[in-house]
Symmetry: C3
Subunit: 268 residues, 3 copies
């Protein structure tokens, strides 16, 4: 994967040079951490969800992150309003359908956002992504009960149906646009002990989408970068508190060269 | 207290094995930290407050945490809706009446939640707990102006009246179900310099309630565990920032044996 | 500036002795961090935004912090309600007009809050502060596109017009009440890589306003203290995650004497 390793370095370099504004409409739990992750990697976050503001704000943004982690109906309306504006101006959208499959509100809201805003990328765990297809899929809260491998074939079909790029993250991440499948092996077990690491993976993809017009390569390289940051954090931190701080540090200190050498991306 | 020391170790072991889903409807300030605390100790947090979702979400949960720290009327309605569903299915509830006694909205909301949802445990500082009985009690903001000792007798009476277990936390924690009183001496002064340590004590109790059917022992052992984590954090950290991170680390690294040896629980 | 260096030490000492209650109606992103900053420095934070509570809560407060970072119309209404009550009882208000100039909602809300509540201090970056005067000023999201130097003269005029003290923060902070200008050189480049450092500067000023009746000296000394904490954090931390934790630690460990010796405040 010389091509994608090189692309990863380019994307990270581009984010740091361009400092793209990333508009987030996201959940209360992770707002602080994802804003810090975006700053640490070199991007410029803004959080804004007011229905009478989101269209004006997203007009400045280079990508839009939608995350339903603590959704209510009014927030979903703002997400759709911002998403329609973003789509209309060709600003890429990434959706994180947190807990889709766990409750009807989450599944239906995710499906509605997808139908109305056409996200370039949707990132979730296997259960969340599969729930977008199969209403009978059940997750345990917001955690996954499906393996990435179970989901590969279904994801490829679903990506084609939805005309999007799907990212199913786990010990190995699977990314597919329906035609191609890419896998990323970077990551660290302590990422599962910090809240919002999935949501943070999503915003990192959001930042790479702002500088890379191909959703497949933007997503794969962003997840490799984020996973590598986890690996680097795990070299010094042995417990979740230290790890979450070291992860932010690693997003800042990893150089494009480190990323090119350290990313583990496999095609098919 | 050989019995409760042993029980403490059992409860921590059980949380790590069962990874119970803990449903939180809580305040904006602490959501991230309490979610991280639950993950670090081995439980599985979910935050969800939408009125058209909470009943479906709490159906999966092993316990429900209600916290009025940044309450508004609509959030209190969601708490009551979730709480009624939880009570109906015998899922234990723990209430954190943050700032009760400071404003009428907080006192009345706490009293209403208690009346309608029958929490298994209520945890607060002395002023908050006493405000549930005496409308003339006054707290300074959300901080306590009563000592734990003042509150012991009143708490025992109130626990009986409300048919619940009360936990008044402070340098020494006092836990009573009306019949028995247990005290916990674990803790560290820097806990008072980190926002939401009270709220975090509450979610730790929530996780132990998910594996221990006796609210008194669940609460006492959880508070000993949380206080011990504070002591361990205080061995390396000398200021609040480092301390809050070391506290999360300690929740992860303390073993059941560490807890059995380190907990300081006194009956009466 | 012997006078203001001495005043800085006095103000820090007074905050630690009086532990003033600071009422915050602020944004979701920074609530946890700003509450922790207030605790670390020795103050007592409370976050409360319910329309049927804010007047009762602010009655106890020694200062009120209003921050529009994740505003919606209902939150702005609560800010105005709390602000009118605060003004009526001579409790000082500090406004952080986050992103004013970026969207009409932010600019108009900031202007409305100012008109109705008469803040003692308004702190923002140059673009935000200038937007309060000039509707054509444009910020890139919530980041500044004006330098502090550009803004000095305009700020002095605007402070007089609005009868307030303006603080424009950046590599050098500029503070003016219309008559006098004070500059603060403390700070560290990593502060720009942590979300909410501007908002945190605001709450630190809020705490100093609670003990110092002169908005100009309260603001200048608070910003010197916060900037010095950044410098101290930068001595040990080399990346944003570690830095944000070390910054909280520094707020706790800096003594009045450290502050008197380390502050770099210039008149005119």
């Amino acid at each position: 994967m010389h091509h994608l390793a090189h692309k990863a370095a380019q994307n990270l370099e581009a984010v740091r040079q361009q400092k793209p504004l990333i508009h987030n409409i996201t959940n209360y739990v992770v707002m602080n951490y994802t804003a810090n992750a975006l700053l640490a990697m070199g991007a410029s976050p803004v959080m804004a969800h007011a229905p009478n503001e989101v269209k004006e704000m997203v007009a400045f943004a280079k990508s839009l992150v939608l995350n339903i982690g603590t959704l209510t109906d009014d927030w979903v309306e703002s997400m759709i309003k911002a998403g329609c504006k973003a789509s209309g101006q060709n600003t890429p959208i990434i959706l994180d359908p947190v807990g889709s499959g766990a409750t009807a509100l989450r599944t239906l809201s995710a499906q509605q956002i997808i139908a109305k805003t056409s996200p370039a990328v949707i990132r979730g765990n296997a259960s969340e992504i599969l729930s977008l297809r199969d209403a009978n899929s059940k997750t345990k809260g917001v955690d996954s009960t499906h393996s990435v491998d179970d989901a590969a074939e279904a994801a490829q079909t679903l990506a084609t149906e939805l005309n999007t790029t799907l990212a199913i993250t786990g010990p190995t991440d699977l990314i597919t646009n329906g035609k191609q499948i890419v896998r990323v092996d970077n990551g660290h077990p302590l990422m599962g002990y910090v809240t919002g690491t999935g949501c943070t993976a999503t915003v990192v993809v959001g930042a790479f989408l702002a500088v890379d017009p191909d959703p497949l390569s933007a997503t794969a390289t962003a997840l490799a970068y984020f996973g590598l940051a986890g690996e680097k954090a795990g070299q010094t931190a042995e417990a979740p508190g230290s790890f979450m701080i070291a992860l932010l540090d690693a997003l800042y200190t990893i150089s494009p060269e480190d990323l090119q050498n350290g990313c583990r991306i496999r095609e098919n």
